[in-house]
């Protein structure tokens, strides 16, 4: 792909190796390759002679398309009529690069050549010339673009990112066809040499953001990057915070929308889930579908999500606080039934809640980890069945099962699942506070979380913007979703503020209202 | 109770020490911070040990109650 050849030299800059030039001697280089790739039997060093020139071909088996290589490259090089002399051969291959594959390049640095081999490229070096030809015929087994598994929508595109970074970038490119969409590639990982690509739209995204991200990534000296989270955890501003500071998505449309808002996308090779930065807490409560459905419905659903966010965080603690400290808050009739059902439960409310919550969390975790064949048996339903049995056995009370189930379901309503994890985690300390100080403790817990969140920044953007600090103009897309024709400006807290994102040239056709 | 205070102060001692070290502050800062911490500690302990320590309220009341009574007339 032509776009990437442009960034090629950057790859070299970023690799930590020193350069090594071994000159024109064929045998020296051959020996170097052989020693470097000793005991790596999947790396083939093939030797052949053409036009009285010995040449070596180094490649990684299984990572190159040997068929095309044979047909398009090898066949021509070894064919008698290809070159008249050694000089002609060098001229044709190395100067003109008249090999009929794309993106060939020339390197002289043998270290770089070796790196290229590991990336799945084919290296050809010749006797009598220090230059080496790099043919990118990388081809390996990869998963096809398939449907989303975690972020499902009713209306909207279905495709999801895959592990291969090139495919992922293509998915974005297909949505945003602009030369302003930049994809800067870095390489991270001493051994894995993982490609990390920062995508952003020039002119929409703030320059400082990109330099900031690049600086943070470049500071990394890590053995390997197997998943985006390696990078995520290392470049966060508040590494000790339980709150996620990057957004993850498996949907190209979400990534594209983020790019259009002026945010940056971080693709990590081998990860089907790119990172979107910066992020605010409210973004975790927005799902892709919000923008595809009608805005009234979406606004309602958003408010519902906020409610359930609170439910998921506070409901068990609220129950504990009320039943153990403020029974006067419950209507008398309800109170009596709650008291009746709690009557033969031996544990205090706090312990009871902990038992149930932990059981529920355990079941949920088990549901993810169990092999698919038996996984169906365990699930949320399993939890409810166990809950029912526990009630009958008199270990927990029936209201507690309801509370825990509602809490559990509420945490599934939050679209950003990493925020949902955080909320699940924070629920427990608040439960302890509520069990010790009642609603006062609950409030203290909330204030602590609130202070922390107010303090938090994700790549320079306050985590709670646009509410704290308040930017009224940006509230259009926070608690409700305003209709598209109303959101004329980009949100100012991330991207370049003073730019329109939507202008309707002709005034909207007048609604036929009477 | 005293145990809790001691634990708390041990904790914040460690915490502030780490903080100041991380920010590589001057020796003087260390001295000031830990002197204040020491004074704070002794005050906290004192409030527990000497139950009837004079409180600042008594002083303020001593100074200002007569003035206020002159201004407002005798309230209550």
């Amino acid at each position: 792909m032509p776009i990437f050849s442009k960034n090629k030299h950057k790859t070299v800059q970023n690799s930590a190796h020193e350069q090594l030039f071994l000159g024109e001697d064929y045998d020296v280089r051959l020996k170097w390759f052989k020693t470097t790739f000793q005991n790596s039997d999947d790396i083939t060093v093939h030797e052949l002679t053409t036009n009285q020139t010995r040449c070596g071909i180094v490649f990684l088996q299984g990572m190159v398309d040997q068929q095309i290589f044979d047909d398009q490259v090898l066949k021509y090089i070894v064919s008698p009529g290809f070159a008249s002399s050694r000089k002609d051969l060098f001229h044709k291959i190395l100067d003109l690069q008249s090999i009929s594959t794309m993106c060939t390049s020339i390197v002289a640095d043998i270290q770089e050549a070796a790196d290229s081999v590991l990336e799945g490229k084919i290296i050809i070096f010749f006797e009598g010339d220090s230059r080496m030809l790099v043919i990118p015929l990388t081809s390996f087994e990869k998963r096809a673009v398939s449907e989303t598994t975690n972020e499902n929508v009713i209306r909207g595109p279905r495709e999801a990112f895959v592990e291969d970074i090139q495919t992922n970038i293509t998915l974005i490119r297909r949505k945003i066809k602009s030369p302003d969409l930049k994809m800067e590639q870095l390489v991270v990982g001493r051994y894995t040499k993982t490609k990390v690509t920062i995508g952003y739209i020039q002119g929409v995204c703030k320059e400082e953001l990109i330099t900031d991200i690049k600086q943070r990534i470049n500071q990394l000296e890590i053995d390997g990057v197997l998943e985006g989270s390696y990078i995520e955890e290392c470049i966060e501003q508040f590494p000790l915070s339980p709150f996620p500071q990057t957004q993850k998505t498996e949907r190209p449309d979400v990534a594209a929308a983020a790019l259009l808002e002026g945010r940056a996308v971080l693709f990590v090779d081998g990860t089907p889930i790119p990172l979107l930065v910066p992020v605010t807490m409210y973004m975790f409560l927005q799902s892709a579908e919000d923008y595809y459905q009608r805005f009234f419905l979406t606004s309602f659903i958003r408010l519902l999500r906020y409610t359930y966010l609170l439910v998921s965080l506070l409901f068990p603690s609220f129950y504990i606080a009320i039943t153990t400290f403020h029974p006067e808050m419950i209507p008398t009739t309800l109170l009596i039934s709650v008291a009746a059902s709690r009557d033969n439960v031996p544990f205090p409310g706090l312990v009871e809640a902990f038992i149930m919550e932990l059981a529920f969390e355990g079941l949920r975790e088990a549901g993810i980890r169990t092999p698919k064949a038996i996984g169906q048996a365990i699930g949320v339903l399993g939890a409810l069945v166990i809950g029912q049995a526990a009630v009958q056995a008199g270990i927990v009370s029936a209201p507690m099962v309801i509370i825990v189930s509602i809490t559990g379901i509420a945490s599934f309503i939050i679209p950003g699942y990493d925020l949902a994890f955080t909320i699940r985690l924070l629920r427990f300390p608040i439960m302890i506070l509520a069990g010790t100080f009642g609603i006062f403790g609950l409030m203290i817990g909330c204030i602590l979380i609130y202070i922390h969140v107010v303090n938090l920044h994700s790549f320079g953007v306050p985590y709670l913007s646009p509410t704290a600090p308040l930017r009224p103009a940006d509230l259009k897309d926070v608690f409700i979703r305003a209709p598209w024709w109303f959101m004329k400006r980009r949100p100012s807290f991330v991207g370049d503020s003073n730019s329109n994102r939507l202008t309707i040239k002709k005034s909207r056709p007048e609604d036929d209202e009477d | 109770m005293i145990m809790i205070i001691i634990l708390f102060f041990l904790f914040i001692f460690g915490y502030e020490w780490a903080y100041l070290k991380k920010k590589s502050r001057k020796r003087r800062t260390f001295w000031i911070v830990f002197c204040i911490m020491g004074m704070s500690f002794s005050y906290c302990i004192a409030t527990i040990v000497f139950k009837n320590m004079p409180s600042p309220n008594t002083l303020i009341q001593f100074l200002f109650t007569p003035i206020q009574q002159k201004i407002l007339g005798k309230v209550d």
């Binding site: 508040f238 000790l240 915070s241 339980p242 039943t323 153990t324 400290f325 403020h326 029974p327 006067e328 008398t332 009739t333 109170l335 009596i336 039934s337 709650v338 008291a339 009746a340 059902s341 709690r342 009557d343 439960v345 205090p348 409310g349 706090l350 029936a398 300390p429 302890i432 506070l433 069990g435 010790t436 009642g438 203290i444 817990g445 602590l448 922390h452 | 145990m3 809790i4 634990l7 708390f8 904790f11 915490y15």
Partner: protein, 386 residues
């Protein structure tokens, strides 16, 4: 940073404990308090508790439960606190006041004064000052023995009386906000009656009957049912009431159902101790035995006038009764103090006498019969005017 914060919170929690925690199933919720007079100047406090353990879910309302799902406990003491602390010692559960909804004082106790009961209610932080105060004849604690045919607990029945405004919903707050402790409180009656729900056995039955009048937190008298209705009008808490009037044409009764009513009291502009009472009400006709043509606007106007007169009579009777006892239970004094503070200050000291001698009412009733109900004229009236 974050983890450290949490650690700090945790450490305080682990080091301490849960001081004020009382599990919901370790509480005995007071639903009603009954205060009776006991010997030697002591009082007998009776508290009504629901028994949740007899209300296992699923069998609620079923006859399978071994006994009543409620109970009451009585103890005597010089103060309420003393009495209930005695009770606390004997109870396995902590007494929780948060759900107390009614306070019933026996007539005997009320006559001695309920000031200290109110003091207890106002001081206890958990006890609300908006529960209902009622007076009962005889022993107040007998009220709890009534058979709750419609509700689960006896106290709920009594509470519904005040909620539905069958009788006055007087709260401790109403008492406390007065300067002289003059107030009017609903009065209960007790009786025995054969009840179908109890297989025709005789059972205790509680109803409402008139009002008790208080002066200086002491009960000074009682008014009957009819004056009591007038008092409801004056206290602006009439609801679900009916007014029966006599038809002008053939002296047969017509009943009006009051849908909406509002009472406004204002001191009269000219005379210092005269008050204007404005009553506005909207009614439907609920029953008519008369042959009067209800589709005629003139007739309706006539009926309205009669009904107005009826209400006026009730109100003035209630007022007269309170005047006779020198108890300013409708707080006309307060109105005077809001509107004419100077006059009030002059007579504040001997207000009971002034109230008795000088206060007059101008009652203006404005009643409208809005709709005739689901029928226009009674079916037996065939074309009166034809």
């Amino acid at each position: 940073m974050r983890a450290l914060k949490w650690f700090m919170v945790m450490s305080t929690l682990l080091l301490t404990g849960c001081w004020s925690r009382v599990e919901i199933n370790d509480c005995a919720f007071v639903t009603a308090m009954y205060v009776d007079k006991s010997v030697k100047g002591q009082m007998e406090v009776t508290l009504a508790f629901p028994l949740p353990n007899r209300l296992v879910p699923g069998t609620v309302g079923g006859s399978a439960s071994p006994g009543n799902p409620y109970t009451q406990v009585s103890r005597t003491g010089k103060t309420i606190t003393e009495a209930y602390q005695k009770m606390q010692i004997d109870l396995p559960r902590r007494i929780s006041w948060g759900h107390t909804r009614i306070i019933v004082v026996s007539e005997e106790m009320a006559k001695e004064g309920i000031g200290h009961i109110l003091e207890f209610i106002a001081r206890d932080p958990k006890l609300n000052i908006n529960n209902a105060v009622l007076v009962a004849p005889g022993k107040a604690k007998d009220i709890e023995n009534l058979v709750p045919a419609f509700e689960r607990f006896p106290s709920e029945i009594v509470r519904e009386f005040t909620q539905e405004m069958v009788t006055l919903y007087t709260t401790p707050k109403d008492f406390l906000e007065t300067e002289n402790g003059d107030m009017i409180v609903g009065y209960l009656t007790k009786g025995k009656e054969k009840m179908v729900s109890e297989q025709g056995k005789e059972a205790m039955w509680v109803g409402t009957d008139g009002m008790a009048l208080f002066h200086d937190y002491k009960m000074v008298g009682k008014i009957g049912l009819k004056e009591g209705r007038g008092a409801l009008w004056l206290r602006n808490s009439i609801k679900n009431a009916s007014v029966s009037i006599i038809s002008p044409t053939d002296k047969k009764p017509i009943s009006l159902l009051i849908l909406r009513s509002k009472t406004k009291i204002r001191p009269s502009k000219n005379e210092p101790f005269t008050f204007d009472v404005y009553v506005t009400a909207e009614d439907d006709i609920s029953e008519s035995y008369s042959n009067i043509n209800l589709t005629n606007a003139k007739n309706i106007f006539q009926l309205e006038k009669i009904a107005e007169k009826e209400i006026k009579d009730r109100i003035s009777e209630a007022f007269k009764a309170s005047k006779g006892m020198k108890a300013d239970v409708f707080q006309f004094g307060a109105y005077l103090s809001w509107y004419k503070p100077k006059i009030w200050k002059a007579v504040k000291e001997d207000w009971p006498t002034v109230y008795h001698d000088k206060v007059k009412l101008n009652i203006h009733v404005d009643l409208h019969i809005k709709r005739p109900g689901a029928e226009n004229n009674p079916i037996w009236i065939k074309e009166i005017n034809s």
